[in-house]
Amino acid sequence: MTAQPSRHWPRRVAPPIVAGALALLAAVLIGAWAGVVALPGGSSGSLDARVNAIGATVRCPACPEPISVNDSQNPKAWDMRQYIRDRLQQGASAGQIRQELVARYGASILLAPPQQGFDALVWLVPLVAVVLAGAIALLTVRRWLQRTGTEPPLGVPVAPIEGPEHQIYQDRLDRELAARE
């Protein structure tokens, strides 16, 4: 009689629960992403709010660490906020202001690289890596689940001895081995 491994294998939990869990995950991810991903500096809100929004994406030019002009209390940071405020009052858009600053200071004045060209890689690579890793993990898990039930090789304990009893046995073993050398 040929072995029928699938019958001995524990029944997998039904797909609806897995699908439900994945849907919840997706909802969490999308919701969080939506809350954080929009590039700030839109045309709504008070002048102060708009200065803050743009300032959060611009780096303090005189500080060694990557801190925004909102957070830094360096005089150059104040001047930069003044510049942003003046330009907004003159009617420039957030994109224009950022572009002007990049023209003067170079791309490193922005706290996060723009999403085009080579710099798009900074955003893409983690996304691709996580998706890829997730896919590999799911496939690996599926392959592990599909592996037919096998008896563990002889001599390997099914449930490992753990905790303090393990320590007692291990010490005794070590002592006896040391005595043999």
Binding site: G35, D71, P113, L145, G149, P160, Q170, A178
Partner: protein, 674 residues
């Protein structure tokens, strides 16, 4: 013979001893067992480890003595300490400079090696120990070589000796700075031990779980101290640096976070290996990566490759470190490759919905977050190398928040679900029973958050944090209730006995609870904060969220031992009612060339922090520039941090069964049949 001479000679001898210990261990381990000189050689190498430790202690002690007695004839002492600074900060000057901090690293590494030797005395792990010592002493030799031959020597002399030194930066003269760097170092260096055991296991082929059991406490120790260091650093930044935040995604902060994340992943995945015999290759890769990240961390701090306020002055350390990291990674992975067949899994996964599966995804997320942080940290370096100086970009908070935020959120979700899933397989009924209550609490918190804040991301985060807290509380409740039924104890006593019966599990749950609270605080202060700054006349007020801020007048003061200060008396009102009167100030540090440093004023409640900085006063003393932040929920970060520390301490200490077993082994009590 001054202490400097003693220190220098001891340092040189330590290098020789460490090299001997390493080579001796390698030869001794590699020789066939039948060679009758082998035990003697191995014993000699072990003694060399202890000797190195003593010599490093002497050398470090000499430097500490020089700092304590203000021996300004030594350049190191003159650079990093002065007469005015409090004595405690003379000690902290040890790790202020390149050479001193390397010596501190060597001291800790050797101390850990000696403890590992003692732990495994009497022949325990006799196959692994020679290779463990070889690995640890190999790295020790490298670091001692750096101190003796590469960096500016700490024993350089000034002739004639200056009468006073330059001293520590005023911002570093804070009690937290006495603990934050040592804590980080204790954590970083402690990862060397599990790594050394892993390498030893690969070399000897003993790749079963023994090495993971032996090193469980070491991993916990490293994780604990690294976590403490991160929390303390955040607290210090928030209270002292005055920019209103606790985490700037500075490259140096990131490189401490990464091994913490992979170390957390490792702590979980070795549980899978111990329970189910799976993920052996993954665990090897994880500990190698964690250790490589600690080397990378100290490399970033020292080489000046990344621009940061933390970096030491670049001093030619970059190249040796890159070589070290390259060789470490190459050799370690070559060993894993070599032993790949032996690392095959013993058991299989039973179900998607099981604790193993949750741990697997938790690992994935943690390593994913660590990778995102790594990528963001090195991307500026990468873009500069590939496109020249003009192509250099900055990768700061907007990137890290957007990329790691959602991942952390999903991680929290798994953190809530994981403890409630049993090993192997969860049935639908048990799942429903376990998850229903936390899900309900989470949904309620989410709805409440939406109503109160109208912010979708924040509400989702509140929901998930609430789930984490609820699932931990449910676990404690059920366990205590079962204990109470079994023993008849009162609730508090049953709880204590429950925790004592399994420190690892309940300490871990407590850490989960703490992390949930920290996440709550981070959500509030990142997504819901209000930032307002203005240059106003005294008496004029401006708004910050729901509050109105009015500077009343300026006070000229003198801070004893430091210098003059200008204090602004600021009134904060809400709806016409006075909420607080805060006194931020600017202090001039005479000893630091007359630099003016801002000291913040803070009113902290569990609901929100009102944070005021006096940035500037006009020369006419009639106008002030104030920076006001309303940071919701920051209090929960520190509260959660304390819970995490408590949980870590509990997880580290032995449980009641383990203490009883130790007494049995020692022969103190007879074995009692259960």
């Amino acid at each position: 013979m001054t202490e400097a001479d003693i220190g220098q000679v001891a340092g040189l001898l330590a290098l020789v001893c460490a090299a001997y210990a390493c080579i001796g261990s390698v030869i001794g381990a590699g020789l066939p067992k039948r060679w009758n000189r082998r035990p003697a050689l191995l014993r000699s190498a072990s003694r060399a480890v202890v000797a190195t430790g003593i010599l490093v202690a002497v050398s470090t002690g000499a430097l500490l003595y020089a700092l304590w007695t203000h021996d300004f004839s030594l350049k190191y002492v003159a650079d990093y300490s002065n007469l005015e600074v409090a004595p405690a900060f003379d000690i902290s000057s040890l790790w202020a400079g390149q050479a001193g901090s390397l010596m501190f690293w060597c001291l800790l590494l050797n101390a850990y090696a000696i403890v590992a030797l003692w732990q495994n005395r009497g022949g325990r792990n006799s196959e692994l120990m020679p290779w463990v010592m070889a690995a640890l002493m190999g790295y020790q030799t490298f670091f001692l070589f750096l101190i003796n031959a590469v960096v500016e020597s700490p024993w350089l002399r000034y002739d004639p000796a200056p009468s006073d030194g330059q001293g520590l930066m005023p911002l570093l003269q804070h009690p937290t700075m006495l603990i934050h760097p040592p804590s980080l170092y204790l954590g970083y260096v402690a990862f060397s031990v599990p790594f050394a055991f892993a390498i030893a296991a690969l070399i000897t082929g003993r790749v079963d779980d023994e090495w993971t059991r032996t090193t469980r406490r070491w991993t916990l120790l490293a994780w604990f101290f690294l976590g403490c260091g991160l929390l303390l650093g955040g607290n210090w930044a928030y209270n002292e640096l005055g920019w209103g935040g606790y985490w700037a995604w500075d490259p140096v902060e990131n490189v401490a976070l990464m091994p913490f994340l992979t170390g957390t992943a490792f702590l979980h995945s070795i549980m899978i290996q111990q329970q189910r015999g799976m993920l052996k290759v993954w665990n090897m890769v994880l500990i190698i990566t964690t250790f490589a990240l600690t080397l990378f961390g100290t490399f970033m701090n020292r080489s000046g490759v990344a621009s940061s306020v933390h970096s030491f002055e670049g001093s030619g350390l970059g190249v040796p470190f890159v070589i070290l990291i390259g060789v470490t990674v190459a050799l370690s992975f070559a060993l894993v490759y070599y032993r790949l067949p032996g690392l095959a899994a013993v058991n299989r996964l039973d179900s998607y919905l099981s604790r193993e599966s949750a741990f697997l995804f938790n690992n994935l997320l943690l390593v994913g977050i660590a990778f995102a942080v790594f990528w963001g940290t090195i991307f500026p370096i990468l873009s500069e190398v590939l496109r020249g100086p003009a192509g250099k970009v900055t990768v700061g908070a907007p990137f890290f928040d957007k990329v790691t935020g959602p991942l952390f959120l999903v991680l929290l979700l798994f953190m809530a679900a994981g403890p409630l899933l049993p090993w192997r397989r969860a049935s639908r009924e048990s799942l429903r029973r376990n998850l229903l209550r936390p899900l309900g609490v989470g949904a309620a918190a989410g709805v409440m958050g939406l109503v109160l804040t109208r912010n979708v991301a924040a509400s989702l985060s509140f929901a998930v944090c609430a789930m984490v807290v609820a699932s931990v509380v449910v676990e404690f409740y059920r366990g205590t209730r079962a204990k109470r039924r079994a023993t008849g104890f009162t609730w508090p006593r049953a709880l204590v006995h429950l925790v004592d019966s399994n420190h690892g599990r309940y300490g871990g749950y407590l850490v989960h609870l703490g992390v949930g609270l920290v996440a709550l605080g981070v959500t509030g202060s990142t997504l819901l904060k209000v930032d307002s700054q203005a240059l106003v006349r005294l008496g004029q007020s401006f708004s910050a969220g729901a509050y109105r801020v009015q500077p009343l007048h300026l006070l000229q003061e003198q801070v004893p031992g430091v210098g003059p200060a200008v204090t602004a008396v600021v009134r904060v009102t809400r709806d016409g009612q006075q909420v607080a009167v805060l006194r931020p100030r600017l202090v001039q540090y005479q000893s630091q060339g007359g630099q003016w440093i801002a000291q913040i004023a803070l009113r902290s409640t569990p609901l929100q922090d009102i944070y005021v900085t006096l940035s500037q006063t006009s020369s006419s003393q009639k106008e002030v520039r104030l920076h006001v932040l309303v940071n919701p929920l920051v209090w929960w970060i520190w509260c959660g941090g304390i819970v995490v520390i408590l949980g870590g301490l509990i997880a580290f200490t032995p449980s009641l069964p383990e203490r009883r077993a130790a007494l049995v082994l020692a022969g103190a009590v007879p074995v009692v049949a259960r």
